[in-house]
Structures are given as C-alpha cells and as structure tokens.
Subunit: 338 residues, 2 copies
C-alpha cells in the first residue's frame, strides 16, 4: 500500500531516493527464480506454480529489534536468521522451499547495512534454491516480516498431531548453545572468547533442517521445529496428538561446549533453551534404523531422547529412569498435563 507523505512520519527520515537504493539491494535482475515461480518481483502479485498433487505450505515470522535481535547484530546474520527461522517451519512440515516474500520497515536507509541484510538473506536463499518473489519496504521502527512458501505432496506433510503412544521421540543436531549466548548477553554467564563465538554462531546462524524434514516424510509420525525450547515445543505435539511423553534428560544431545557447563545450566539450556531450530519429531519404534539412515542422508545427527506415552503430560527422567525433580527450568515447572 501507499505510505503517507513524509510529513506524517515522525521518527523516519528516509527519502524515496534512499528507498529506491534499498530496493535495488534486493533486486537481482536475471537471477533464476526456480521451477515453481511463474512470476517474481515487479507486479501486483507473485505467481507460484506448485507441482501436480502438491500442497502449498506457508509460514510467516516477524522479527522486531530489541525483542528478537539486538541492534548490534551484524546485518548479514540478521538476514540469515530472518529467513532461517521461516525455513525451519517448512522443514518441520517436510516441505520443499519454493519462494519467500520480505516486508521490511526501516528507521533509516543505511545502504551498507541493508546490503549486508540482503547478502545474508540471499546467501541462505541460494543455498535453499529459492527466490525472493515480493514484499514491501517502508519507513518505520526496524521490523522484518518474512513469509515462506514451500510444497509438499498432498497428505504427506509432517504435522504436530500424529504422535502415538510407543513412538520414539527424536531430536536433530544438539541443543542449547544459542541459550548459552543469550545468557552471556544477559550478563548471567561469562565464557572464554572462543566458546562465546561458538555459542553466538548457534544463536545468530541457525541451520534450518530442510533435508532432514524431506527425509522424514513417511517416517516421522509428528514433527515441530524447536524455537521455544524442547519442553515448550514438545507440549504442542502432546496437545495436538492427545498423548504424553517421557524425556530421558541424559540422552539430550549436547555440544562439547555444553557438556562443560554446570549441570543446572545444562538442564535449562537443553530443556528450555530456545532458538535451537532443530527438529523434534516422533516415529514408530520399528522405524528406528530408517530414522538413523534419514539423518545420515541429510547430513545431521539424530538422537532418540525418549518415548511417547498414553499418560498425559511430560515426565523428565534421569539415567536411572527416576523423575527429575528440583532444579528444573521454569518452563518445565509450568508444564502441566494438557
């Protein structure tokens, strides 16, 4: 839509010329659009052509300065993450990415910053084989809204609702490093520089598990991507599936960096860390070897971390199978049976 004339903008001091420069940062004349994009940027709408028998998977995420990222984040990292967290939703559905739109509100037209943002976005878009097909640029407080579109054969999307008692519970990669970086930013933790850099990479440059999502079609009974922490996101699967779960705390996959932290901090990061963007999924026990093979094919470790039960709620147990009590992260304390 049209923005009002500039005299109505209180905090924004960006001229049209600057915005044209910014839009040029996102224009990629002649860049391939991919087989499913019939029309990209430049008309009233983009046009997508999903394959025959395909459903379109759609997800939107909005990133706000001060809430989802600090103003000091490198723009390349922000561009990467804005797309990565959306692609992670496609991965959790087992969808193949097709295209994305970007709506961007900017307080000022710092072209070098915007070019960095575009570089980060497009590096991940190119690796994922997708094109920017539309969007919007406006003056205002810094805000990025990405909408991704992917395709999945009708009936084959991985949903949150398919977990069944007896299924194994799996997680990809390892958990919690992003939370370590957050604890440092919060001033609650101090890490050696190299460790902090590793944790910050996990926070700023998550890898959407697209290949794994595709490989799990027909194998996983349910899936979700981990953005709010394992216990919080597991709750969504349990509610939608009408089941419970037992999580074996000591099997949760962790980096060597995480394994060096205090046990209580490890529990917080692993069980309620947030910003992991790994896949949490369930599969019938009979599919155990096939799931391991899917992980190998997708180039990411997958770890069994518990089971689905018919008793509602979630129990976290230690290596002896005893319920973990006491020093559990708050997300767990507040987690009652559905």
């Amino acid at each position: 839509m049209r923005a009002w004339p500039n005299e109505y903008v209180e905090r924004a001091a960006v001229s049209l010329g600057e915005f044209e420069l910014i839009e040029r940062c996102f224009a990629r004349q002649g860049h391939p659009l991919g087989r499913a994009v019939a029309l990209g940027v430049g008309d009233d709408c983009a046009l997508l052509q999903p394959g025959p028998g395909m459903q379109l998977a759609v997800s939107s995420d909005m990133l706000v300065e001060g809430r989802h990222f600090l103003s000091t984040v490198p723009p390349e990292a922000l561009g990467h993450k804005a797309l990565a967290v959306n692609l992670s939703d496609l991965a959790a559905c087992g969808a193949q990415p097709l295209a994305f739109t970007l709506a961007l509100s900017l307080p000022a037209a710092d072209v070098a910053w915007v070019q960095g943002l575009a570089d980060g976005l497009f590096a991940l878009a190119d690796r994922s084989g997708i094109a920017l097909v539309g969007g919007d640029t406006t003056a205002g407080p810094l805000n990025l809204c990405v909408t991704v579109m992917g395709e999945v054969p009708a009936g084959q999307a991985l949903l949150r609702s398919g977990a069944r008692p007896g299924d194994e519970l799996w997680v990809s990669g390892h958990l919690g490093d992003a939370r370590l970086a957050l604890e440092v930013f919060r001033g609650r933790l101090s890490l050696p520089q190299a460790d902090f850099e590793q944790a910050r990479q996990a926070m700023e440059r998550p890898t959407p598990r697209l290949a794994l999502g595709l490989a799990l079609r027909g194998l996983a009974s349910s899936a979700i991507d981990l953005s709010d922490g394992l216990l919080g996101d597991l709750r969504h699967i349990l509610r939608r599936s009408g089941v419970g779960a037992r999580v074996e705390r000591d099997t949760l996959p962790r980096s060597a960096l995480m394994a060096r932290q205090a046990p209580e901090l490890q529990a917080t990061c692993l069980l309620a860390g947030g910003d992991d963007y790994e896949l949490l999924f369930t599969a019938p026990a009979a599919a155990h070897r096939a799931v391991l093979a899917a992980g190998r094919a997708a180039g990411v470790a997958v770890s069994p971390v518990g089971h689905i039960t018919d008793t509602p709620g979630c129990r976290v147990v230690d290596a002896q199978g005893q319920p973990v009590r006491g020093a559990l992260p708050r997300a767990f304390d507040h987690f009652a049976a559905p």
Copy 2:
C-alpha cells in the same frame, strides 16, 4: 520464532498471558476454512491446496503506525484496511482469494483494541470467503504485515505488462476521495462534517475490487491497483508494457463531493491522490462493451479515461484534447518518458 525474554524488551510491557488473550481474539474454532485450505492455524505451516491447473498469487503489505495510519484510527477500520490493501493486489491480478496470514507487532495488549482489529479483519475476510491460516504475534512498535494468497488459472493472471497501443485505459469506481481526507488531516483543507465523513470512509474503508478483477480475466490486457495515485501507478503499466498513454483529465470519474472542490485540488486528487484501491486497466477497443458488462456484473462502475499509445510517456489532455500544463500535481511533473 521465539521472542527473547521480556527483560530484553525496552518499550514493550506485554506479558505472555496478555498475548494469549490477543491470540484468542484471532482464534475462530470451527469456523470454515474454505475449500482450498487443508490446514489452518496451529501447526508449523498452513497447507493450501490450489485447484488443478491453478497458479498461486501472493502479495505482502506492511502497515506502520504514523506512516500508513494515524494512532487515532478506529481498530476496526485498521483491520479492514490491512486486509483490503492486500486483497486489492489479488484483484489487480484477477485472482480468487484463498487465505491470509497476519504478523502483528503490538506495543501493549489492549484487548478491546485488538478485538476491534480482529473484527475489522474478519468482517472483510468473511465477505471475501477467506480464512486466517497463520501468522505471528510479538511485542514491539505497532506494525501489521498481511500476506494474502489467491489462485488464478495458469496463464490468465492480469499483469502490468500486457498493454498495447490502441488499447483503451479504464478505471473502476471514482478517484481521489481518500486524498481529500488526507488533506483535511494535513490541515490543508476544511470540509463540512458530512463531507469529511464521506472522504474518511473512502480512506479508511476501501473496497478491494475482487469481483471486477475476476470478471476482467480474458478481457483486460493489463491491470494494476491504484495505491500511489493514477499517474504514479500508470507509470508501472507503461514501463512494464513498453508503451505510452494519453489520459483525458475531464473523463476521470469523481464523486459529487469531488466535483464541488476547486479545479486544482481535483486534479491533484484525481491524478495523484493515492489510497484509491480502484483498478486501473487496459483492454482492446473491441472489448469496450464487454468491459462495461464486466463492470455491471461486478457491481462497480468502470470508466474509459484514455488510450494507450506507442509514443513513450504520458500525456494528460483536457476536454479539447489540448495538453494540460501548469497546475498539475507534482507526481505528473516528475513523470518522464520511461
């Protein structure tokens, strides 16, 4: 994606509980999703199933407080407009709306305000036969990002690129009333209360011309929706089509309210008003009667306002066919040949 813990939010003081209330304002348990929505809100992605042979049309628009609307706008009107400006893009492509997502950043959880916003959104969504299928809610400066999805038979979308010399230039409805309201808000114009209310309705509650867009499939050679004013948006058609145009100023459709304004103000509002959300389109002269019939079928007046020429650029002429000079709106002054 996950928002950071609240201690990182400087200007936002919204608790999770309040956000759950807000999300409840947008939840519509059991409400029909429409034939093309296989899965709505509540999983990682929504799933859409376009009909066989259909392309998916996608458009995103972001609305920022102070830039696209004043803080005093009634929330119902804001909800209506956020969806209407997006549906208008689908109309301009001749697409049938299927679904939309909403990403919302809110400085505070005023539930009555959010309920008003939801009421305005859903009233228009219901009239348009579409469902909210996903989105995001976060704390932050007020910002709405709507993405609409529609479908159109492959190859039948109305594009900006199809205008040919000799085509007639058409516009739906009447133009410029929204700009009158803006002039009042800017303190440059005073109107009697009833006139101001009429103008404000035009600004706050535009009607997306969806039925007309559908009726123009196979008839119109190009189309765009009017958000930036007739001359500015016409420029997009001319550039993409590689043609020029002659606009007959005195044929531009106007309300009785507009016809009572000073000639110079009329010219500004009609030629460069903005926020009209009418369709500007071209069609072969042989289709003249069919276009009139399409307008009747869609319940909206359509007016021929000029012609497409092979001479680049845009000429505005008066009733005698003489070029209009002098008191033309700035958008026209800056408008050179492509």
